[in-house]
C-alpha cells in the first residue's frame, strides 16, 4: 500500500516538474521576444532552442516517452518519425531557398529576359 502511494507521489511530482518547466520556458521565450534583447538569427536560434527543450520536457514528463520496458517500440517509431520530419521540413526549406535564390535576386530586366527566353518551358 505504501509502495503504491509512493509511486503515485513520484508520478505527481513528475507532472508538476513538467508543468513548471513548461510554463517557465514559455514565459522565457515570450520575454525574449517582447524585451527585444536579441535580434535576427540569434533570436530565431534562441526561440528554436527553447521550443526544443520544452518539447523534450513534455515528451518525458507528460507523454512518458522512453518509460516503457524493452523492446522500446514507441521510441523506435518516434525516431523514424523524426527522420521523415527532418526530410520533409529540411528538404522543403532547402529546395525553396534555392528556388528563391535563383529566381528572386536578379534585376527585373534580367528576370524578364530569362522568362522570355524560357517561355513555353
Amino acid at each position: 500500500m505504501t509502495k503504491q502511494l509512493d509511486k503515485n507521489q513520484t508520478a505527481i511530482v513528475g507532472y508538476i516538474v513538467g508543468f513548471v518547466l513548461s510554463v517557465a520556458l514559455t514565459l522565457t521565450a515570450y520575454a525574449v521576444v517582447t524585451n527585444k534583447t536579441v535580434m535576427g538569427v540569434t533570436l530565431m536560434m534562441v526561440l528554436g532552442a527553447l521550443a526544443l527543450v520544452q518539447v523534450v520536457v513534455q515528451l518525458i514528463f507528460f507523454l512518458h516517452l522512453g518509460d516503457e520496458p524493452k523492446p522500446r517500440w514507441k521510441l523506435a517509431v518516434f525516431f523514424s518519425m523524426l527522420v521523415v520530419l527532418v526530410i520533409i521540413v529540411g528538404g522543403s526549406l532547402w529546395i525553396m531557398y534555392h528556388l528563391d535564390y535563383n529566381m528572386m535576386h536578379m534585376p527585373m530586366e534580367q528576370l524578364q529576359q530569362r522568362m522570355d527566353k524560357e517561355a513555353g518551358f
Binding site: N8, A11, G18, T26, Q58, M81, L85, V89
Partner: protein, 197 residues
C-alpha cells in the same frame, strides 16, 4: 487463480497493443503537421502586399491561450493519476478542468480567426494567410475532436461505470491531448513568436 492471472496478462497485452497502435497514429499525425509547418515556413513571406504576422498577431492573447492549453494538458495528466488510483470523483474533476480549459482555448482561437476575417485578412488574402489558417486551423480541428471525444468518454463513464475498455480509452485520450500541446509549442514559437519578432 491461474485463470485470473491469464486474463490479467491478456488484458495487459491488449492494452499494450492499442496503446502502441494509437502511438503510431500520433506519429503519422506529426508528419501531417510537419508538412503543414514546412508549407507555412516557405510561404510566410508571401504576403501579397497584405499585412504580415508582425502586424496581425496579438501576442499577449496568444500567451494566455498557450498557458491555458498547457494547464489543460497538466490537468489531463492529473486526471490519469486519479484514474490509476480508481478515484472517480477526482478523475471527473480533473477532466472537467481539462475540458473547460480546452473550450476556453478554442474560444480564444476562434475569436482570433473571426477578428482576422472580419478585418478582411481571411485565408484568401495571401499565401501567408492561407498557410496560417490551414496550420492553426488543423490544430484547432484536432482540439475540437478531442473535446468531443472527452465528452463522450465522460458520458459513458457516468452511464456504465469503469471498465477495462473505458480505462484504455481515457489513457489514449490523455496521449492525444498531451500530443496536441506538444504541437502547439511549435505553433506558438514558429508562427507567433518568430512571426511577431
Amino acid at each position: 487463480m491461474t485463470k485470473l492471472l491469464k486474463k490479467a496478462t491478456e488484458v495487459e497485452a491488449l492494452e499494450d497493443k492499442t496503446h502502441f497502435g494509437f502511438w503510431v497514429y500520433l506519429m503519422t499525425d506529426c508528419i501531417l503537421f510537419a508538412s503543414l509547418f514546412a508549407t507555412y515556413v516557405v510561404l510566410r513571406g508571401n504576403t501579397a502586399s497584405g499585412p504580415s504576422g508582425h502586424e496581425l498577431f496579438d501576442l499577449p492573447m496568444v500567451l494566455v491561450e498557450t498557458l491555458i492549453l498547457l494547464t489543460s494538458s497538466f490537468a489531463c495528466g492529473l486526471a490519469m493519476l486519479a484514474l490509476k488510483r480508481g478515484d472517480k470523483r477526482q478523475l471527473v474533476g480533473w477532466l472537467a478542468a481539462t475540458y473547460v480549459l480546452g473550450v476556453a482555448f478554442l474560444v480564444i482561437e476562434l475569436n482570433e480567426f473571426a477578428v482576422l476575417v472580419t478585418e478582411g485578412h481571411g485565408w484568401q488574402q495571401s499565401a501567408f494567410l492561407s498557410a496560417f489558417f490551414t496550420l492553426v486551423g488543423t490544430h484547432g480541428v484536432h482540439i475540437t475532436i478531442g473535446l468531443l471525444w472527452l465528452l463522450v468518454l465522460v458520458c459513458v463513464l457516468f452511464k456504465r461505470g469503469f471498465s477495462d475498455k473505458l480505462r484504455r480509452q481515457f489513457v489514449l485520450f490523455s496521449l492525444f491531448w498531451h500530443f496536441l500541446d506538444v504541437i502547439w509549442i511549435f505553433i506558438f514559437t514558429i508562427v507567433y513568436l518568430m512571426g511577431a519578432a
